[in-house]
Each structure stands twice: as C-alpha cells, then as structure tokens.
Amino acid sequence: MAAGTAVDTSAAKKPSWGAAFTRSEALRGWTLLSPTTILMVVGLAAPLVIMLLYSFWKQEGLTLNTDFTLANYAEVSGKYYTVLLRSLWIAALAAFFTVLLGYPVAYYVAFHAKNSKFIWLILLTIPFWTSYLLRVFALRVIMPEELRATPAAVVIALTHAWAAFAILPIYVSLEKIDRTLLEAAADLGDGAVRRFWRITFPLSLPGVVSAMTLIFVPTIGDYVTPSLIGGGKPATFMIANIIQGQIKSNDWPLAATTAIVSMIMVAIAVYFFVAALKAASRSLR
C-alpha cells in the first residue's frame, strides 16, 4: 500500500457478500470453478439425461410418441446383440494388445532411454496428434488385401491408433517407482525376472488399468476405424455403425437406446475387469 494510507475498511463495514467472498475460500473457489462446471452440466450432463429420456420414447414414422415404453430396449437386445458383443470383443482385444505392445516400450523409455526420454515421448505422441482418418486410411493401404475388412484388421488399426494412450499412463506409473525398491529386491536375492514380476509390474498396475480403460471405453464407440478398414462391410460393423444407421433413418429413440445399452455394457465390463485385475494382483506377492 502507498505511504500513509489508513486501513481501508469499506469491505469490512458492511456484512456483505463481498466480505463473505473474501473470507471464504470455498466461495472464491467455486466462483472460479462454476463456469466450467456449468458448461459441462449444460453441454454434457443435460444432453445425456435427455438422451436417456428419448430411449423410453418411440419414433412412429415422423412423430415422436412420448409414452413410456421399453420397446426400444427389447428391440436392441433382440436385434443387435451380435454387433454389441463384437464391439465389446474388438475393444477388449484392442485394449489388451495396445497395452501388451505398449508396456515394453514404456518400460524401455522409463528405465533405459536415459537422456533421450524427451525425444522418445515426443516421437511416441506425434502420431496421436496427426489426422486419425488419414492414419487409419494409410494403415489400410499397407495391409494385405485379404486382411482388410476383417475384425482382426480393425483390432490392428485400433492398436496402432491408441498407442499413445497406452504408453503414457504406463510410463508415468513406471517413472514413479522408487529405484531403490529394485535395489532392495536385488539385495534380497531376486533376479531381474523375479524383480520385474514382484516389484515393477505390481507397482505399474495403476498405469496399466488406466491405459486399458482409457482405450477400451472410447473404442467401443469407434466409427471411423470399422468404416474405413471394413470398407462398409457388415462383418466389421461396430455399434457406432449401427447407431449411425439409426440416426440416418431418423429413429433417434432407438439410436439413443443402442448408445445407452452399449454404455451399460461398457460399465459392467470395466467393473469386472478392474475386479479381476485386483484379484490377480493379490496373487503376485
């Protein structure tokens, strides 16, 4: 404050909102946080709720019948379970292979890359930032003719596309491991392999779990990869292709239902995956 100024008590005299604002950290924090939170409530939560409502309505020709019905759910589970299961299966395989291939690379960068870590991390993330459409297309170009338009091709393309999402979380969890733990294990007589399975791997599991979920959840709804790789053939259709078809034929309630059912399946799958992994990690002692 400038020379000789007395205390400015204007804020203190009135027991106003301003004074409470100055005093309360929570109030100031929420004021700052609220615009983004409101954005997400309006732009994300509200649309999802309305979509949920739609799933209980019925499209009849050009009119929307807003009487409550479960007909859409019956239709989805009757008609689309093959595609739903295929989507789950493809997404699960993609997540698994991306992590399986990405783990050694993350390990290499964390433990062996030494001074070139930064370059490696940039090299590994650049593909992620370049056009997804063109990457998938280019992959299709170099694929053997007979592989195209198969679910395996979709898995390969996804494994390529999501590489960064596997490597980065695993790298972070490996990087966090205290190196003296490994020295302690060596000191206690563990060789390199046992050290890996008893120390490194269990400690990197959080990274593995977040990598798996980060890949599995969004790939279930992937549209570009099956469409481009499969060239529009139903053998590679995933759930997004179905939803896109339903939107095209203006049956939004059915599309909403399909989307919601697939999300419920994803949630269940993730839940069991995490539970299974927890059980498995207990056996690594």
Binding site: M1, A2, A12, A20, R23
Partner: protein, 371 residues
C-alpha cells in the same frame, strides 16, 4: 482516534483459527505497539505463521477480531491493509527483475515516474543492492533475494512489516549478519516489525518483545530478558534455553518468596512471580534453575549461597563454558551446571567422579506451576 491507546497499534482480540477441528490458533489475545520489534516464537506448527497470515489478510479468524490502527480488519483483504510481508520463500517474481520487483507496489499506487524511480533507488540503497536492478531471481543468492524481498515490502512505507521466518533459508554466518542488519533497518525506518521464527536465539537477540506460542496457544509475552529470567511455565522455560526442573512442595509463602521443599536439595527460597496463584501452601510446584545460574565448587558453597553435595558425571567442554552433569544423592535426574571459562589455568577444572558442591543463590531459582 483520540481515544485510541497509542500502545495498541495492532490488537488481537480473542482470535481463534480452526481448520476443520484443528485449532491452529487458540484464543490469542494481545496487542502490539507502534515501532516495536515483535516476535512470534514457537516450534513449527504452533500457529505463529497462521497468526501472521491473519494479520496480513491471507487468512481470516474463525472467532475474534484483529484491529489495525483501531479498525477491525476481518473481511479486509490483504491488498487493502497497511501491512507488507517478507515471505519465507521470499516470493521474488521470477519474471521480473530486481527493479520491477521493488517497483511492483508503487506501480499499483500509480506513482509519478520520477518519484517511483527515486523511491526504488532509495530502497535498493537502503539494503545495499544498488547496481543489481537488472538481476532476476535465479541470478541472486539467498541473501540477496532476501534483501530484495525486504526492499520490495519497505518501499511501500507500510505501517507494519511482517516477516515470515525470513532468515530460515540462510546459512548460519549469513543469518547472523542479516539479524544485525534487520535490527538496524528497523531502527532506521521506525515501523512495527512482526517477526515469525522458530529460532529462540534469533528471537532473543532481535526483539523488543516476544510471544512464545505452542500448540496454537500464546504462552507468554514478554521482553527477551524477562522470558529468559522469569518464564511463566515449564514450556516457555524449556523452549528458551535449558533449565533444570525440580518438583517440590510449597511449605510456606513469605513476603516475596515461596519456601519450597525439593527432593535432595532441601528447602529453597524462590522469589515469587507476579502471578503465584498456583502456589498455595502444600501444593506441588516446579523449581527451575538455569545451568549457568548454578556453580560447581570444591568444599563449601559461595558465601551467602546454599549448596548441596554431589558427584561430577559427564563433562563437556564447549569453548566459552564447561557443562557438567552433577549427580545429587536423593535425586533421580542429575543437575545441569554450566560454568564460565576463566583464563587457561582453570581449564577443565573438574573431572568425572570428583566430589563437589553445587552452589546457588536464592535468586537463581524460578517458581513454576507443575504443568
């Protein structure tokens, strides 16, 4: 403001600060005079920094009120208070050079350019940092940053300067030099300094008055001399220097002295402190004695003093003095005694196992409540 007591520039009235159920500051109640060098002393986590931050306006009391210059300031944010602070980390703006750091507050006050320049130069001169105008934080040593932080605060001519452990990050030599400079600076600018530290020697050598805090409570507020000579409780005595604590029972209260029976030492006539309500006849109390207030002699105690026989245990040579642990029959804990070092002929005058007498005068003893 004519009714204001000039002795109360800052009044802390029953201030309590809770974080959740944790009492950071518990019912602090005192005032600070204008032009005073006032220290808040205590171990880390005792609430001294929280109290300072409440005066600065970064935290607000859960209960109670703080008055600056007679005005209640709760709800007044930091930028509207006549206080400036020197942060523990110094908080030198890393994107600005020394000149712009010091000019920061003046720019806000929209000072004319010439006046601003004059004030910045003057402040830099005061801390002997002229010529460093274009340095940045990462091009300065800890001591230099600390000076810049001082100049940046003082250039605004605050009524009160708040210092949050400003010397904590410096090495011992530099710290001692800065202590001296701080004291000079305070006398030069003549404003109130409120100084937070956990270093008792620092607080003793710098302050006019010290508030000793522990676990959120202010235990005692007094001049350094008073704190050292007449602590009001065991915690204060223990935190500031070393003290022998001897449990005893009050036998009688005479004018100005309490007669206390102490195990192994017999009857001790201890001067009564200002508040001796805790010392009723028959109640348990503590008798405290600083090691240097006791002496070790061969044979009889010093004339006019009392004494007790004992055996030298451990000895330590500390350069300017000797430390002895003297075992007294009938006492579990040995007495700590520090004797001043005379000329070289008297070096290490006692050795372990030697039978000696511990000698003291009545005024060496302090009467304390049995916490």
């Amino acid at each position: 403001m004519s009714d204001m007591n000039s002795g109360d520039y800052i009044r802390i009235e029953h201030v309590t600060k809770r974080f959740g159920s944790f009492h950071a500051v518990d019912d602090a109640h005192f005032s600070i005079r204008p032009g005073e060098f006032f220290s808040l002393l205590g171990p880390s986590g005792c609430g001294k920094t929280t109290l300072l931050r409440m005066i600065a306006g970064f935290e607000f009391p859960t209960e109670g009120e703080i008055y600056i210059d007679g005005q209640p300031v709760t709800g007044v944010p930091a930028n509207k208070r006549p206080t400036n602070m020197v942060f523990q980390s110094y908080a030198i703006f890393p994107h600005l050079d020394v000149y712009d750091n010091v000019a920061y507050g003046l720019r806000k006050a929209k000072l004319p350019k010439a006046e601003l320049d004059r004030r910045v130069k003057e402040a830099l001169g005061m801390i002997r940092m002229d010529g460093f105008e274009n340095r940045r934080a990462d091009q300065m040593s800890g001591g230099q940053r600390q000076r810049v932080a001082l100049a940046r605060a003082l250039v605004n001519r605050p009524k009160v300067l708040l210092l949050d452990e400003p010397l904590g990050a410096l090495d011992k030599k530099l710290r001692e030099q800065m202590q001296f400079e701080l004291r000079m600076l305070q006398q030069q600018v003549g404003i109130t300094f409120i100084f937070v530290t956990h270093d008792q020697e620092e607080a003793l050598s710098l302050s006019d008055r010290i508030a000793v805090m522990q676990k959120g409570k202010v235990l005692q507020i007094a001049s350094p001399r008073e704190l050292y000579e007449s602590p009001n409780c065991r915690e204060v005595a223990d935190f500031i220097g070393t003290m022998n604590f001897m449990p005893g029972v009050v036998k009688s209260i005479e004018p100005k002295v309490a007669v206390v029976e102490v195990e192994g030492l017999g009857l001790i006539n201890s001067p009564l402190p200002e508040d001796y309500s805790f010392a009723a006849v028959g109640s348990e109390v503590l008798i405290g004695a600083r090691p240097e207030k006791l002496d070790v002699v061969r044979g009889a105690p010093h004339p006019g003093e009392k004494g007790v026989k004992g055996t030298i245990g451990a000895c330590a040579y500390l350069g300017d003095r000797n430390h002895y642990q003297v075992t007294i029959e009938g006492r579990a804990a040995p007495l700590q005694v520090a004797t001043e070092q005379g000329d070289r002929s008297t070096l290490a005058s006692f050795s372990p196992g030697e039978h000696v007498t511990v000698s003291w005068g009545d005024n060496s003893m302090v009467l304390l409540p049995k916490s």
